[in-house]
C-alpha cells in the first residue's frame, strides 16, 4: 500500500537521476525527456509519486524512445556487485566461462535500469563562480539563515542558487532582498524549484544602482539619478533596507567584493552576521582587513574540503577523484563599538 506524497506533474521541474547522471528538467507531455543518448516518454512518468524509481524499457523506432515502468524493488549497482561473489576476487574470472556470462547478463540488466556510471553530471550551478554544495551549505549557516529573518543577498554569476537556497530556508516567513546589477536579476534556480506563491512572496529584487540613488555610498555627494528597471520591486525592497536592520548579508558575485561589502554593511543590524563567497582567497584577505577596520568581530576566512567515499564490502576507500577547490568564505559579525558602561564589580 503506497501513501502518496507529491505526484509528478506536467509542467513542473524535477531532478532526474540516471546512475551518476543528474539533470534538471521541466516535464512536458508534448516533449520527450532527454537523458544522455536516450529519450524517455514523459507520459509514463506523470502521476507517480516524486521519488519513484523507474525501469527503462527500450522502445522501438529510430528515436530510441524509452518507456518508463515504476519498480517496487530498487536494485543498486552496488547491490549487484556485492552479490556477485566472483567480484570479490578476480583471479578466476577469465578462466571461468560461466561466471563471465553471468557478469555480462548483469551488466546488460543494469544498463536497462539506467545504472550506467560515467556520464556527465549536469547541475544548475554555473562553473564560473565554482560554488559547490558544501560551500553553499556553509554560507547558509554562516549567516544563520532562519525563517522570519530579513536577508540581503547580492549575487551574480551563480544563477540565483544562493537566492533559491535562502528562499527555501525562509519557507514563506521573513524576507529576502535580492540585489542585482543591471539588466535582469538571474532567476534560474528560483524558477527551477517549484516554490509556492507564499514562498515567492518573501522575495523582492532591487537594482544596486537604485539602492545607491536612495542611499549614496558617499553621503556628501549626490548620486546621479538612475532610471528604475522593470524587474524591480523597489518600493518593498527599499522600505526594508532603509531600516538598516537586516538580519544577514550574503555576497556571492563575480566582482572583487571589498567595496561592495563596505557599502552594504550599513544595511546590516548589529549583532548580525555577514558571509562572502569568493572563488579566490586573495580578495577575501583584503575584505578581512576592511571589515576589521569597520570594527567587525569573529572574522574568519575558511574553505571546505569535501571527500566522497565508496563504501562496499572489502572495497571501501575514498573515491579516486575529488574536487580540488570549492571557493572560500569570509564571515564575521557587525557590532556597535560605542561603549556601553556596565557598572563594574571587582
Amino acid at each position: 500500500m503506497r501513501e502518496d506524497g507529491p505526484a509528478i506533474c506536467d509542467g513542473k521541474n524535477y531532478i532526474i537521476i540516471k546512475g551518476s547522471f543528474m539533470k534538471l528538467a521541466k516535464l512536458k507531455t508534448q516533449k520527450q525527456c532527454q537523458l544522455g543518448r536516450a529519450s524517455v516518454d514523459v507520459a509514463g512518468l506523470l502521476g507517480h509519486p516524486v521519488g519513484t524509481q523507474f525501469r527503462l524499457h527500450s522502445g522501438g523506432g529510430k528515436q530510441r524512445l524509452m518507456r518508463p515502468e515504476p519498480v517496487e524493488h530498487t536494485e543498486d549497482l552496488a547491490d549487484a556487485i556485492a552479490a556477485d561473489e566472483s567480484a570479490a576476487d578476480n583471479r578466476n574470472l577469465l578462466a571461468n566461462q560461466t561466471s563471465q556470462a553471468m557478469t555480462k547478463e548483469r551488466i546488460m540488466e543494469m544498463r536497462e535500469q539506467g545504472a550506467t556510471g560515467k556520464e556527465i553530471v549536469t547541475t544548475i550551478v554555473d562553473n564560473s563562480t565554482n560554488l559547490r554544495v558544501d560551500s553553499l551549505s556553509q554560507l547558509l549557516t554562516a549567516c544563520s539563515v532562519r525563517p522570519g529573518g530579513r536577508y540581503l543577498v547580492l549575487e551574480s554569476g551563480c544563477l540565483a542558487v544562493t537566492v533559491a537556497a535562502v528562499l527555501e530556508r525562509l519557507g514563506g516567513h521573513g524576507h529576502l532582498v535580492h540585489l542585482f546589477q543591471g539588466g535582469t536579476p538571474q532567476r534560474h534556480a528560483v524558477d527551477a524549484i517549484n516554490f509556492t506563491s507564499d514562498q515567492l512572496a518573501c522575495l523582492s529584487c532591487l537594482d544596486l544602482r537604485t539602492l545607491m540613488t536612495h542611499h549614496p555610498a558617499d553621503p556628501t555627494a549626490s548620486a546621479p539619478a538612475y532610471t528604475r528597471t522593470r524587474c524591480e520591486d523597489s518600493e518593498l525592497a527599499l522600505n526594508m533596507l532603509s531600516s538598516k536592520e537586516m538580519d544577514g548579508l550574503l555576497l556571492c558575485c563575480r566582482q572583487h567584493p571589498v567595496n561592495l561589502l563596505r557599502y552594504l554593511l550599513r544595511f546590516l543590524a548589529v549583532s548580525r552576521p555577514f558571509a562572502v563567497f569568493c572563488p579566490y582567497k586573495e580578495p577575501l584577505l583584503e575584505c578581512y582587513f576592511a571589515m576589521k577596520a569597520e570594527g567587525c568581530i569573529m572574522l574568519k576566512v575558511t574553505e571546505t574540503w569535501l571527500r566522497n567515499y565508496q563504501v562496499l564490502p572489502e572495497r571501501t576507500h575514498p573515491e579516486i577523484n575529488m574536487s580540488g577547490g570549492g571557493g572560500y568564505i569570509l564571515s564575521g559579525f557587525k557590532v556597535d563599538r560605542s561603549l556601553n558602561r556596565a557598572p563594574v564589580t571587582d
Binding site: 503506497r2 530498487t74 549557516t141 544563520s144 557590532v335
Partner: protein, 316 residues
C-alpha cells in the same frame, strides 16, 4: 528566550553570547542569581580575564553593543545555533558547524520538516535543526542517557523552543522511535546506527524521506551502508566535510636588492658595514597572507546520506 526569534535588546532569562576575544566566548544565562557549586543561590557575577561582570546589568542593553568591564570590554551577541555550538556545555562529543551545515542541506530540511534525531547528545545539532524547521516543523529527539535527555529538554524549554521539540529518554536501537510514517528525515549519531535503520524506515513517511548517519569509524559506516541497502534505501553517499581556516595577517617580508653589488676589494671597514647591509635590501614589502593553521581538525566523522523512495513501505 532569544533562540526563538531575533530581538534587539537583552531581557531577563535570555542567553547572551559574551564575546571577549576569539578564544574567549561564553554563553551566559541572564539572571539575578545563580546556583553555586554548593547549591546556594548567589548573585550572578561572571568572572572574565577583563574583570567581573554583573550579569543582570546586561538587561536592557542592545545586542551587539560593547560591555565595559574593569580591565577591558566585551560584546553581547545575540545567540544563534552556530554560536551556541561554540559555547554550549559539552556533555558528549558534539557536531560542529561544518558537519551540521552539510546535514541540514543534504537532509533537505526547511520550515515544516519533521525530523527524528538519535542521540540528542549535547543538543548542538538539535538547536540548528530547530531553527531550520521552525515554526511549522517538529523535532523528535532521543537519547538513551536519562540525565542527558532531561538536560536537553530543560535547555530547549529555557531557550523558548520547547514547543517545536519532543525530547525522549529512549534507546532507539532496542526499542525503535515509537513513530510511524511521520518523519521527513532521520539523523543518527549512535554507536550502532545500523540497529536503528529498520526503525528509521518505519518512522519515515510513506512518501519517502532522507536519512543521515554520522559515524567516526569506518566499520560503523560499512555496517550502516549494508543495513541501508538491505532495507531499501537508495542513493547512498558517504562523505567527509572538513573546514580549513586561514590565519590572515599582514606579513612584512624583507626583499633582497639585486641591483646593489657589494664591494669586492675588501676595503670595507666597520663604519661601512651597516650601510652595506642596507644597500643589499630593498624596502620591506607588506604582503597580505592567509595560511592554514598549523593544526586543523583532520577528522570528525563520516556522513552517510541515503533516500527512502516512496515505493518502499515498511514491512508490517
Amino acid at each position: 528566550m532569544s533562540f526563538k526569534e531575533y530581538k534587539t535588546h537583552v531581557e531577563m532569562g535570555d542567553t547572551v553570547i559574551l564575546y571577549l576575544n576569539i578564544k574567549n566566548i561564553h554563553a551566559i544565562t541572564v539572571s539575578e542569581e545563580v546556583k553555586n557549586k554548593k547549591g546556594n543561590m548567589v548573585p550572578n557575577i561572571f568572572q572574565t580575564v577583563y574583570g567581573a561582570l554583573k550579569v543582570k546589568d546586561l538587561v536592557g542593553m542592545k545586542y551587539g553593543s560593547q560591555v565595559q568591564m574593569t580591565r577591558g570590554w566585551a560584546f553581547a551577541l545575540h545567540p544563534t545555533p552556530e554560536l551556541w555550538t561554540l559555547t554550549l556545555p559539552h556533555r558528549t562529543q558534539i557536531l560542529y558547524t561544518p558537519d551540521i551545515s552539510m546535514v541540514l542541506t543534504q537532509l533537505e530540511l526547511r520550515p515544516g520538516s519533521v525530523v527524528c534525531e538519535a542521540g540528542t547528545g549535547s543538543g548542538s545539532l538539535s538547536h540548528a535543526i530547530l531553527r531550520t524547521i521552525a515554526p511549522t516543523g517538529h523535532l523528535h529527539t532521543f537519547d538513551f542517557h536519562e540525565q542527558r535527555s532531561r538536560l536537553a529538554a530543560e535547555e530547549f524549554s529555557a531557550h523558548g523552543v520547547g514547543d517545536y521539540v519532543t525530547a525522549r529518554h529512549r534507546d532507539v536501537c532496542g526499542e525503535g522511535f515509537d513513530l510511524d510514517s511521520v518523519a521527513d528525515a532521520v539523523f543518527l549519531d549512535l554507536p550502532r546506527p545500523y540497529d536503528a535503520v529498520p526503525f528509521a524506515k518505519q518512522a519515515l513517511k510513506k512518501s519517502g524521506g532522507r536519512i543521515c548517519s554520522f559515524s567516526p569509524c569506518i566499520e560503523q559506516v560499512q555496517k550502516t551502508c549494508d543495513s541501508l541497502r538491505k532495507h531499501g534505501f537508495t542513493e547512498l553517499q558517504t562523505l567527509e566535510c572538513l573546514q580549513r581556516e586561514f590565519q590572515v595577517r599582514k606579513s612584512v617580508m624583507s626583499v633582497f636588492d639585486l641591483s646593489q653589488q657589494p664591494p669586492t676589494d675588501g676595503s670595507a671597514d666597520g663604519d661601512e658595514r651597516p650601510s652595506k647591509k642596507a644597500a643589499m635590501e630593498e624596502r620591506p614589502r607588506e604582503v597580505l597572507t592567509g595560511i592554514p593553521l598549523t593544526t586543523m581538525p583532520g577528522h570528525t566523522g563520516f556522513l552517510t546520506f541515503a533516500t527512502l523512495p516512496p515505493v518502499m513501505t515498511s514491512a508490517t
